[in-house]
Subunit: 341 residues, 6 copies
């Protein structure tokens, strides 16, 4: 099964451990990006995973490519050209102190990409699935058009299309997001989001939601999913539910809504002692895509995706270095963390 992911790969410069930015005179440098994270996780799960982006033609760009080849991702469709490597500075939070992100992603190679850079018919040749996220069209108007091109081609060639709404308040406003994203939703078979995305990007808010507190009853989530289906026709809607007790501890579960069956499936909730929560949502998306490509039952799929992303929260870096076997072991053990020896 071959899956194409399109989007950005960034350099992440993180303050070591729980130090403040520039408290130490080194930065942990890894590569990341919502879509790159999905592509890597799918490759680790054993899928034939290919990543499409545009990168600067220098050692920074090559290192980004190498970081994905390491996990077996096909990078042969990546193009090189003008623009810089987008990056962000990360300060990991602890307890009551929030993590801090400083973006420096303007003028990146991908944000300067042109429609003619991508020949989607060729890219999608032989592929089964196309994944993208709402971050791409937020980077430039041209990128929004490129996403539309890709979606059209994918649908035309019979691929399943999944999209993670992934709202980023530092990149665009809810109004702009909605204007751009709404027309694209008709191409999306599987819509992945959290309650904030649903509200900010699609304007769908369950009654009595309080985004800041992260509290929402199950009925509210089902309502949101139904609305997304009824308005845009998505066949499946997956919603992640994060309870942010502190920067060190989160509750995490998720729901999958099957529009055809009119059924909602909830995973168990994991109470997580966090190692690194960045990339948590992406690892969920990858887990869900894998599960659906494997034709798992809905309950199994949402359990798999949630367990995969639970494990991501315990792993340093954006990439979810978790195998199918690791996920299955967690599903079996329930997370008691016993040493195997």
């Amino acid at each position: 099964m071959k899956v194409i992911t399109f989007g950005e790969i960034l350099l992440r410069l993180a303050a070591p451990g729980y130090t403040k930015l520039f408290q130490k005179d080194s930065l942990d440098s890894t590569f990341c990006g919502s879509e790159a994270n999905v592509a890597v996780s799918l490759s680790i799960f054993g899928m034939d995973s290919s990543f499409v982006t545009k990168l600067p033609d220098n050692d920074v760009g090559y290192a980004a490519v190498n970081s994905m080849r390491y996990f077996g991702v096909d990078t042969s469709k990546i193009i090189y050209g003008n623009g810089r490597m987008g990056l962000y500075y990360l300060e990991k939070g602890a307890s009551q102190r929030s993590s801090k992100v400083i973006y420096d992603r303007e003028y990146s190679a991908i944000s300067l990409a042109k429609r003619e850079n991508f020949d989607w018919d060729k890219i999608f040749d032989g592929a089964d699935w196309f994944h993208w996220t709402g971050i791409n069209p937020a980077l430039s108007d041209e990128l929004a058009l490129i996403c539309e091109d890709a979606c059209k081609a994918a649908k035309g060639m019979g691929l399943t299309v999944s999209c993670d709404l992934n709202y980023r308040g530092k990149l665009w406003s809810p109004k702009k997001a909605r204007t751009v994203m709404e027309p694209f939703m008709k191409y999306v078979d599987i819509c992945i989001c959290n309650e904030e995305d649903a509200e900010k990007v699609l304007g769908i808010k369950a009654p009595d939601t309080d985004v800041e507190s992260g509290e929402l009853n199950n009925a509210g989530y089902v309502h949101t999913a139904e609305m997304i289906h009824s308005q845009y026709g998505c066949k499946f809607v997956a919603i992640t539910l994060r309870k942010s007790f502190s920067a060190s501890r989160n509750g995490w579960n998720a729901m999958l809504y099957d529009a055809e069956a009119l059924e909602s499936y909830f995973s168990r909730e994991y109470n997580i002692q966090i190692v690194d929560r960045v990339g948590g949502g992406d690892s969920f998306a990858a887990g869900l895509i894998y599960a659906m490509m494997q034709k798992m039952e809905c309950q199994d799929a949402i359990d798999f995706a949630t367990a995969a992303s639970c494990l991501k929260h315990t792993i340093e870096g954006d990439y979810n270095r978790t195998t199918v076997q690791d996920v299955q072991a967690l599903l079996r053990s329930g997370g008691n963390g016993r040493v195997q020896r």
Copy 2:
């Protein structure tokens, strides 16, 4: 608003991470000291903060100065002379294992300082506030006299004087502490302490206090504050309340007593997953001084000071690398630790 802080700056040699002392063959080297911590925090909060001490005239002393200039502290009033750099070894505890401190601060330059080294009229010229702590007079009898000189000059020049009692059992006995400190209390406008300080330095113990367990009811704290006011005339008494569940987790809140208004104000209690708790009390003092210099209402002041010191517990090193904006964000969010992006 200009504030003068007088006291010691030490070299802190800490075992890396949660290792035991000398388990690894390097030591994390930062600078610290109860009063230096306050001066740094006040500078980060935007105050015109000046630090007064005596240091050895060598690269270790210069590095200490640089560590404060980094944060904008005015170090031009520091004097250099005989004596060594005081230091301490720190082993950070975890769970049931306590942190361990080994002092090596004897014969430090500041402990060998002479009264004639400091021209307080010149030092306090243009200043609004003077802060010192009970550690200084514990270092040498001469330093006690110097503290008295400073207090007298400060009062004479109309500065507000704050003092953190800061009892250290490894430096002096309760009896010596009380003999020395009691006569100085009349100069103190704002007395900062915890229940152990109050008992060991001033002999004031609320009924039914159990210092080891850290449990005390609110009435007990109010009683302690009232006693301090009635015996020494301090206008404000601030008491921090630490619940030590383990070396990794503490409860933390505080109370401010306004003697004129006869009112007590309690902050909320933070349940903290600790990164580094050394300097926690100093960060409270700095938060309180800032709040009072800003003429905050008492409830706002105690909330600000407690939130500032809560954040310190999540930061490596003694210095509280927290801005006013960070404190305000915590007061708004309540500490859910959500990433801002």
Copy 3:
């Protein structure tokens, strides 16, 4: 009091911090091994502790020896010869992610040892206590015979013999373990195990035990101890009780059964925020051996042993760098983790 410990010392190659194996390009290299851990802890407790093993005659072997001499262990009885240094790769788990161990201990020098390599009469000359574990006979059939030689000699010379059953599923099957170990139990005065060891090695299972969940009522543990005594004649049976809430948090307590007095003694339970749990069982064994060599009362002995091993869980590396004073401080404070200064 002189104690001889016989067994293996291994090189432990651990991924740094909470990273996955080979995520970083260095490995933390320390020495370890169930029996080496006991010998080191006993030496730190002030016992005259001697370790017996066979090592490769190269710099890796010498470094292992040095790591024990550092703590004062007598290594003069160690022999050198053919075979490699056994090692294992360790990936430390966090939250729902389990720790992972990859053994690479085949063909180690000790596993290739011959009976004639060890002159037990000479080794035990002047000694009071002999400790070994069930890992040794699992390494080779010859090692099982060597253990038998040692047990016989020790009993003949009047030493107290303690054995930690220490079942390792990656080394042998329950069936093989039982066949080999049962005949040796008659030499054992003090049998140390957990409920899994008792079941896998001796086939003793309390009614209603669920090993995976780690839940067992106190009566079940007493029953297991009584069975071990009645079947093999051990005078004391100590059972550790781990509740694995997650890879980051464990409950930990233990029981000591005195067969002569027909009494069972339970320690308090520690709820531990884990730094490094490998070697936790060994630190318990060392604590118990020390306590019994010191002729502590049974309740004091099990309290000491459990507190010692509680502290081990907060220390990096297999060796329990905890002194008698540290254990006593924990017993006094109850584990509130307050800084002493």
Copy 4:
């Protein structure tokens, strides 16, 4: 003596040790920039040194400021506004392998600065000296105008003006450089350059120069200096002479030409085992400015400047953490490197 330096401060992201970029997953992060380097060195030498630039209003910008305050530089004249923090990636060379620099400094705050951002009359109030380099006007056309504004104001207010030509082939062409820089030379009292700068920026090439080999006879350097004086009127011309034997070993000396006295002064040549050569030229400029502000004789001045920059080559990072005492010690000892104890 007060000196104003105007220019850029950048974030330098360097591969650790002698590794290739991204070979390790961390980058050493320090701040640098030709002009910032000069300002820091002058402050360490005891001058009243003030740095003027424009920075992004975020934690990266503040960290840059702190890195200069650490050394006592006055940063109160720095302005904050739109644009990012410029940065570059550095891979340190060794032996036959050259160091590699990848610039990512486009769209930096300083490059987007406007003329109206700077009130030069106010900035230069009370100052004695103004230093800038040829990198500034290479960053944007507006910056060239700003440099002109500054030069005019400085001359008008009677400051001495020094300029390091500092040609960077990755920023502009020789042709552009010459067009922009030539009109500014009339404001420059002290022109600092190497033979490549002289050729690329001013079109002045000594007969028989071979820039690549770095070989040039002394007469050639004198000729170049004379040409600069005769064409632009600079009172002093200082030329550094680097012999690049390999990335690990360089020969380094310099010449000072005194146009009034018609005399040339050559320093001794240092054969340097390089620790970090980036910032070598800037440390020479700072040494020369210091020496001239101290009214040293020409021979002493060129000796001081060359020794100061020799020491920079043995120090990690761009900043020359060398004191006047260090330079004097080298001038006395000749560089035998004996331990003082």
Copy 5:
């Protein structure tokens, strides 16, 4: 152009920096192996490079694979099975102190490989070149047979065969080496060796050679090459010439003998300040194979190969992270190490 390399990949555990083994408590962990090094270098040079080996089916084996995929090597032909990951401990020498290697490669998966594990017709399908080294047959008798199988298949399918004699005294004796290797030489088109290999493996010694001193005149090298050609029919013989002045400084050049043209070509000699010399010979082999696949003239080929391996000596780790552009830049500059900016 597609090249198949067959051999071993090992885990290299190196003491950090210039420390002695186990002086620090971490080991730098990278992957290496004479043949893996060649495969990686060829992939970086842009060749279609595929590596064939047998690995343990665990996380250590997978990490080895990932380390090669990072550089684009095709690892799809690698098989997994019984046996461990071979490894060696490395202590890097300095000045008069030699580097030290402790092998722990017995019982590795590849050394336990069986002839039936490899289907050479399938492996070589579409390939142009086959490279192997004398280390393989030294690991086991079965591996010698496997090498023979591979050589026969390669020749039968028209591939060019290159072999690096790579004598290792810790793996086998000269006598055994010669017995095994001589019959295989007839399959070898390009024989790569140094003077020690030639003597120990083939018994060919130039008159007046002194292996220890590494001194040999050019005529001696030509003589050795002629002998190899005349005895075994190799079309090309490449000999590397290392002058070991100290562990920190080596002279390095090489010779290529073209048997058909009866011509010898010598590269220039590089005087190298060593960063890491392990893998130096392998980088030469890769450079030569690349050059010959690109049909370079003999002089260009030996220049390219020697420059490539010169650069390897300045790079940490066994893999030669050097591109064709890097080699060409060195050939142009001659190694003056000037920064490009």
Copy 6:
């Protein structure tokens, strides 16, 4: 053969790599001290080596002891009591930049030792050799008396006494050194020094010596040795000869003068690329003591001692982690640094 070494062990806090002190926020922490270095080296050479000192009774003191036990030194004669752990800060030089040492060793436990602390008859029981250095009596007047006590007891019990003059200008003046040391020289069988020690401590200066340049002809050294013998009766005089080309490169050789045979023996000179030169002289003393205890011929002894100390210069830390085998290998190879594999 049993040797007793008496003196100080210090904590060495070194800036990492070639950074300036406090440039990084960690310090490499190892233990050292001229006499401790000798004791450790002798133990590694296989001697029965015992170290006598006084240490603070805390974790810093215990860590110092452990660092010596690691190498097998007998530490059972060490006493504990009042006073702190002496320490020094070290900044390693490079090229023209000298290493910098900042002592903080006042009030150390050993400097506060009393004569009655040491029972020399008991300490020397069964010993063959006593080694001390001129640093001890420089620390306190009482220590000078203690050294005299020790020397008298040693001579009375028939031990060979060696002394390294070890002049430290930061501890005492030449005048004081001479007054104290001269009376003790009569107890010294083997006097170890360099030309600076001879001049500063004993007032013996060869004609035409220039200490700063380190240049002295061989005749001058012989003259110095003869003078030491004739004035104080030492049977052997060993003089080390350091040529300090730079902080990175030293020439190093030595001479042994046999007073009875009236012969002088010179070692070869090593041209050393320095890794860490601190402890170089101590490693020479240990090598010489070992060689003489082994009854080597004078030429062999001076060759062994010089080779041993040559290797020390290539090893991080004060301790010479060099075995007899390592020294012999260097003597065989001459220092070409070839990898053994």
